[in-house]
C-alpha cells in the first residue's frame, strides 16, 4: 500500500519575535506528541531553497507561518491551495533571499508539488524586535492554531489516499 507523505512545516526566524511562530508551533507539536505517527514535522527555519526536497516529496503539506494579513495581532487565518500564493511568502526567507512562494514555484517548475497545501497563519504583533521570543498575544494563539492544524490533518486522513 502506498503511504501518503504528510508534512507539517513551521517556517520563520526565531530571532525575530513573532517571526518565530512557525518553529514554535513545531516545538509544541513535538513536545505534546499529538501528531499521528506517519506525519513528518519539520522546523524549516529560514532554509529557503533547501526546503525544496521536503516540499517535493510531500503529498499533503501543512504550513505554519507568521503572515501579515492586516488583521488584529494573534488572529489566525487558514488558507488552502490556490488561495495561498496571493497572500504570503513575499518577504525573503533568507537563503539567497528566497521567499516561501519562490520555493513553492520552484517545486512546481520541477513538476513535484503537494496535491494539497494548507497554510495556518498568524497575524504577528511584532516582527522586528531582535533576539526576542514570541509576543504574549501570538504565543496565546498557538493552541488554537494547533487545534485547526490537527483538524486539517484528520480531514485529510478521512478523505483517503490520493490517486
Amino acid at each position: 500500500m502506498m503511504t501518503v507523505t504528510v508534512t507539517v512545516l513551521g517556517i520563520g526566524n526565531r530571532l525575530w519575535a513573532d517571526e518565530g511562530f512557525g518553529p514554535s508551533v513545531i516545538d509544541r507539536l513535538m513536545a505534546e506528541g499529538v501528531l499521528p505517527a506517519e506525519v513528518e514535522a519539520l522546523d524549516g527555519g529560514t532554509l529557503g531553497l533547501y526546503l525544496l526536497p521536503c516540499i517535493q516529496q510531500a503529498r499533503r503539506l501543512l504550513v505554519f507561518d507568521a503572515v501579515d494579513f492586516g488583521h488584529a495581532p494573534g488572529e489566525i487565518v487558514v488558507l488552502r491551495d490556490g488561495e495561498i500564493p496571493a497572500f504570503f511568502g513575499q518577504r525573503p526567507l533568507s537563503l539567497h533571499q528566497t521567499g516561501f512562494t519562490d520555493v513553492l514555484a520552484a517545486a512546481e517548475l520541477t513538476g513535484a508539488v503537494p496535491d494539497m497545501i494548507t497554510l495556518i497563519g498568524v497575524q504577528p504583533e511584532s516582527i522586528d524586535e531582535w533576539g526576542g521570543s514570541l509576543t504574549h498575544t501570538v504565543a496565546a494563539a498557538i493552541p488554537h492554531a494547533i487545534a485547526l492544524g490537527l483538524a486539517e490533518l484528520s480531514a485529510w486522513q478521512t478523505e483517503g489516499k490520493p490517486q
Binding site: 531553497l49 518577504r91 539567497h96 533571499q97 512546481e108 520541477t110 522586528d128
Partner: protein, 600 residues
C-alpha cells in the same frame, strides 16, 4: 570632492546622478550599492555598503575551542562547512594537532563537493537570470531548442517534447502572475542578448539543476551526518570507517563509499555536459562583458590556497590550489602570503562602523577588535528622524564590512584569482582548462579580468573540482582497501594536554574566495576569534588611504542602458558570488520583496 584618483589608481567622480540599489537580490545577506553615473549613464563612482552586522566574534568569546566550528559554521547557510573547516584548522594549528591521512582526504571530498554544489547553484539560481531572459524563452521553438542543445552536448535530456514541456511549465507560472523565483527580473531589458532558444535551454537546465543540487549534498550527509551544516571534528573527521558492516552504527562502509563515488561521477557528468556547455554558449553572446567589471582583478589577487594533497602540509607543493598574491597585474612575480605575519593581513575601519583605538592603523586578526560604532557622515542624504537613508556619505563611515588589506593593498579574491594564480605558477591542470576555454571563445588571457571572466572562472573551477572529487574518492577507497581506517587523532582532545596560551590560524578557500579564521586560546577557552571572509575582501569599503574595494572598483566605467533597471550592476556584483551574511560582522528590517532602486 568631485573628481579624485584613489591610491589604487581608480578615478572617481561623484558629481553625477546618484543611484541606490537596496537590497541587491539573489545574494545571501544584505548589500546596498550606490553609484554615480555621468550624462551618458556610465558609472563614475561606486559605494559598497554592508548593511548587516555579524557579531560572531563576540559570541565565540570564552567558549570551548573544540566547539567553535559548530557556531561559526552558522555564519552562513550557503557555503556550509567551509567556516567549520577553517575553524578546526585554526584550533589544530594552535594546539599542533596532526590529522590522519584519511581525515585529510575526507575533508577534501567534503570541500570539493561544496565547490561543485555552490558554483552550480550560483550559476543557475543566482546568476543565470542576469543573462537569461525567462520571458523570451516563451517565444522559443522547441525543435530549434532541441537542435541547439544537441549541437552543444551529449546530455540526453534534449528532445523536442522535453523542451515543449518545460516551456509549458514556465508559461503556466508566468501566466499565473506569480513569477516566484523569477519575480525580480528585468525581463525584456535591452542588455539581454540570448536568442529565445538559448533562453529556453538555460531555463530547462535551471530546473534540472534545482533537482540535481540536492543529490550532490548527500555526500556531506554521508561523512558529516547531515546537510546543511554537517558535523566536523578537531583532530580529524567524525566518520568512522567500518568495511565489515558490523559494530559501529552509521559507519562508512562499502555501500556508502559506492554511493559517494556514484554521486561524484554524476556531478562530474552534469558539470561537463550541462554547466560548461551552457556557460560557453551564454559567454559567446556576451563577449562585450569582457570589457567591463575588471576592477581589481587585473591588478591585485589574493589566495590562501586549499586542498592539501598531503595531510598537515600547507606548502605549495602540497596544495592543489596554491597560495600567493599577485600585485599590479604582474603574473611573473608570485608573492608569498603569510597569514601569521602581522604586516601581511590587516583590517582597517575608518570607513566601517567599528571603533579602533587608532583608526589610522590596521590590526592583524589575532589583535582584531570588534566594537560597533554606527555613525553617519555629515553628507548623508535622508536618514533624519528615522526616515530611510537616500545616500550614504562615503567620505566617512558607511559599511559594516571592515576593509582588509594585504601589505596595505586592496585585493580581489575568489575563483578567478585562484585560477589566475595557479595559471601564473604553471599548474598544468588549471592551464589546460583555462587555455581550452579561451581558445573555444577565441578570447585572449586578459579577457579573464572582467565580469564575464569571473563567471567563466567559477564554471571552470567547478569542473576542476568535480574531476578532483572523483579522484579523491578513489584515493579514499584505495586507503580503505589497504586497511587504513584511521579518521581521527584524539591525542590532544583533552584540554589538560594544551598549553596555557596558544594562537592559531585556519585557512581555507571558500567557493567565493580566501577565508581565514584566527583564534587565541587562553586557559582552555577562546580569548579572541576573528574571521576575515572572502566577501570582506571583495565588498570592502574604502580604507585609511582612500583605496576602494573590489566591488567598487569593478563597477567603474560600466555603461548602463537604464539606471532605473540596474541589470549591469547586478551582473558584475553577482559575478563575485557575494555572501554578505558572512562578510558583515542583525539585520535592518527587510526592504520588502522588491529591490528599491532610487535615482536621486
Amino acid at each position: 570632492m568631485s573628481r579624485i584618483v584613489t591610491p589604487n589608481g581608480f578615478e572617481l567622480d561623484n558629481s553625477g546622478r546618484r543611484i541606490a540599489i537596496d537590497p541587491v537580490t539573489r545574494i545571501e545577506g544584505h548589500l546596498r550599492i550606490e553609484v554615480n553615473v555621468d550624462d551618458a549613464n556610465v558609472i563614475r563612482n561606486a559605494v559598497s555598503v554592508g548593511t548587516m552586522w555579524r557579531g560572531l566574534e563576540i559570541i565565540m568569546k570564552d567558549r570551548d575551542p573544540r566547539d567553535a566550528w559548530a557556531f561559526v559554521q552558522r555564519i552562513c547557510g550557503v557555503c556550509t562547512g567551509v567556516h567549520a573547516l577553517a575553524s578546526i584548522r585554526a584550533v589544530e594549528d594552535a594546539l599542533k594537532i596532526e590529522i590522519p591521512r584519511n581525515a585529510n582526504i575526507i575533508r577534501n571530498i567534503m570541500h570539493f563537493t561544496l565547490y561543485a554544489h555552490d558554483h552550480l547553484v550560483h550559476f543557475y539560481h543566482l546568476h543565470a537570470l542576469d543573462w537569461v531572459d525567462i520571458v523570451s524563452a516563451l517565444k522559443a521553438d522547441p525543435k530549434a531548442t532541441s537542435d541547439l542543445a544537441q549541437s552543444l552536448s551529449p546530455w540526453p535530456k534534449s528532445s523536442v517534447g522535453y523542451f515543449k514541456d518545460i516551456q509549458g511549465r514556465v508559461k503556466k507560472l508566468v501566466g499565473s502572475g506569480q513569477l516566484g523565483p523569477f519575480r525580480n527580473g528585468y525581463w525584456g531589458h535591452p542588455a539581454y542578448k540570448l536568442p529565445p532558444e538559448a533562453n529556453l535551454m538555460a531555463v530547462a537546465h535551471y530546473i534540472e539543476a534545482l533537482d540535481f543540487q540536492r543529490e550532490i549534498v548527500k555526500i556531506h550527509a554521508v561523512f558529516g551526518g547531515k546537510n546543511p551544516h554537517p558535523n566536523w571534528l578537531v583532530g580529524g573527521v567524525p566518520a568512522t570507517i567500518n568495511v565489515h558492516s558490523a559494530g559501529a552504527v552509521g559507519a562508512i562502509n562499502v555501500e556508502r563509499l559506492n554511493l559517494v563515488l556514484k554521486i561524484a561521477q554524476m556531478t562530474q557528468t552534469f558539470i561537463s555536459q550541462v554547466y560548461i556547455p551552457d556557460l560557453m554558449a551564454i559567454a559567446s553572446f556576451y563577449k562585450d562583458w569582457t570589457k567591463w567589471g575588471g576592477g581589481l582583478s587585473g591588478k591585485n589577487l589574493l589566495c590562501y590556497g586549499d586542498f592539501p594533497s598531503r595531510a598537515n602540509d600547507d606548502s605549495n607543493d602540497s596544495l592543489m590550489l596554491p597560495r600567493g598574491a599577485i600585485l599590479n597585474g604582474d603574473l611573473s612575480t608570485i608573492h608569498p602570503v603569510d597569514l601569521r605575519d602581522p604586516t601581511h593581513i590587516q583590517e582597517f575601519v575608518p570607513h566601517s562602523w567599528y571603533r579602533y583605538p587608532d583608526e589610522k592603523a590596521g590590526l592583524h586578526p589575532w589583535d582584531g577588535i570588534t566594537e560597533l560604532d554606527f555613525r553617519l557622515g555629515a553628507k548623508t542624504q535622508g536618514g533624519k528622524n528615522g526616515s530611510a537613508i537616500d545616500a550614504f556619505d562615503e567620505n566617512e563611515k558607511y559599511s559594516y564590512v571592515k576593509a582588509p588589506r594585504w601589505k596595505g593593498h586592496a585585493m580581489e579574491t575568489g575563483p578567478l584569482p585562484r585560477l589566475v594564480l595557479a595559471y601564473a605558477m604553471g599548474r598544468r591542470d588549471i592551464k589546460e582548462l583555462v587555455d581550452g576555454a579561451l581558445r573555444k571563445l577565441d578570447l585572449p588571457l586578459p579577457a579573464l579580468f572582467s565580469t564575464l571572466g569571473r563567471t567563466a572562472a567559477r564554471g571552470l573551477e567547478a569542473q576542476w573540482a568535480a574531476d578532483r572529487l572523483v579522484e579523491e574518492v578513489h584515493h579514499l577507497i584505495d586507503q580503505v582497501k589497504a586497511g587504513n581506517l584511521d579518521t581521527a587523532n584524539t591525542e590532544k582532545w583533552s584540554p589538560t594536554t594544551w598549553p596555557a596560551e596558544a594562537k592559531g590560524v585556519g585557512y581555507a578557500e571558500a567557493p567565493r574566495g580566501a577565508l581565514g579564521h584566527w583564534i587565541v586560546i587562553r586557559d582552555q577557552k577562546i580569548a579572541n576569534y576573528q574571521a576575515v571572509v572572502p566577501t570582506t575582501w571583495n565588498a570592502s569599503p574604502r580604507d585609511n588611504a582612500g583605496a576602494i574595494g573590489a566591488y567598487e572598483a569593478a563597477l567603474l566605467g560600466t555603461p548602463m542602458a537604464d539606471p532605473k533597471q540596474p541589470l549591469e550592476i547586478l551582473r558584475t556584483i553577482h559575478s563575485f558570488d557575494p555572501c554578505l551574511a558572512c562578510a558583515t560582522h542583525v539585520v535592518g528590517p527587510d526592504g520588502g520583496p522588491l529591490t528599491t532602486v532610487q535615482v536621486l
